[in-house]
Symmetry: C2
Subunit: 206 residues, 2 copies
């Protein structure tokens, strides 16, 4: 049995959706960011980075969204959530996920978490001002070069779709007008109609 | 035949080492950052992100270090550069690589590339001051929790080792004293003795 530690509004949504799409048996536990539970001794014993998501498996604990998404796809091959028998196509999936975690999510994080990389209020304000531009540039590249359509990798739905849906859900707070990104907007609409996505989004909102 | 676009002093070193360790047939092309070649129309047609590394394969072009490292490990299975038949162990490899790209490399990048996330000189200086602390915290976690020894994943040398060696090579310029990180220092020493590492480092320095 798998157990996902998550917090609403975080990138843990991607793994949560993929567990549901995979038909996995799993439970969830919500971490309360308002009380800083992610830095409690109990949670740090699960994930010493003090971040979500974490995935408890019978072999040990996994962290880092791209690693978890590939793990779930490999563990539940019948769900066909990644091209597991084609190293190049699998690498394309991984390259997309890696871009989201190392560039897109990082650009977004400068809006509210500037204290990770600077110490002055003036720097935080400066970083915050830049977010619509940096996140906007990332998504313009996704729109133009990466999102093949209808799904990220083309005809096949993959773990990339759950991850993109998670990060494109932050566009509005990041000050990026989704109307400038018609393929991303269309992707969000189709994702929101999927039963697994509806179920998980409702659970995280409850 | 594979072709790696790289620049000296960048994270492309990890992929370069892994190609050599894999016994792959490959060529390299150096991108000149001083003349901003990474943003030339020619290079942007290879990698629209304007970053290195990029790996040209007979199926198309790959970007993003974690994706390339897993691709090379899967394409050259005899080199045993990742636990390919064990989804959980493979996920541990991927989680390590994902942490390096999304957290450690990002912390480092705030030293010289603050313009990616802010606009004011005062912010760049603020970010730069924070780098010894943020990169230091990342490597303290690697030392304490992640580097199993003698190699990152324990007894088996994997792609993680080339990636760690690449980023631990930046500790000195980032103002982190490697003497506080004995396992990382020992890892660097043993990496530097490997024939593949010696060959690639010499080529990048030439």
């Amino acid at each position: 049995m798998l157990k996902l530690y998550y917090a609403p509004g975080t990138c843990a949504l991607a793994t949560h959706i993929v567990l549901e799409e995979a038909g996995a048996s799993y439970t969830t536990e919500r971490i309360d960011f308002k009380s800083n539970q992610q830095n409690s001794p109990e949670y740090l014993s699960i994930n010493p980075k003090g971040r979500v998501p974490s995935l408890v498996t019978d072999r040990g604990i996994l962290t880092e969204t791209p690693a978890m998404l590939a793990f779930i796809a490999q563990t539940f091959p019948k769900a066909k959530l990644a091209p597991l028998d084609d190293a190049f196509a699998f690498a394309q999936v991984q390259a997309f996920n890696s871009y989201l975690c190392s560039t897109v999510h990082v650009a977004h994080a400068h809006r509210m978490r500037g204290y990770r990389w600077a110490g002055e209020e003036s720097s935080f304000a400066d970083m915050k001002r830049m977010v619509p531009k940096t996140v906007g540039a990332c998504f313009a590249l996704i729109e133009r070069e990466m999102l093949k359509g209808p799904w990220v990798m083309g005809e096949s739905y993959t773990v990339c779709d759950a991850y993109l849906f998670t990060l494109s859900g932050w566009l509005e707070v990041d000050g990026v007008d989704i109307a400038t990104l018609p393929k991303v907007a269309d992707h969000r609409r189709r994702m929101a109609e999927r039963p697994a996505v509806r179920k998980v989004v409702a659970e995280e909102k409850a």
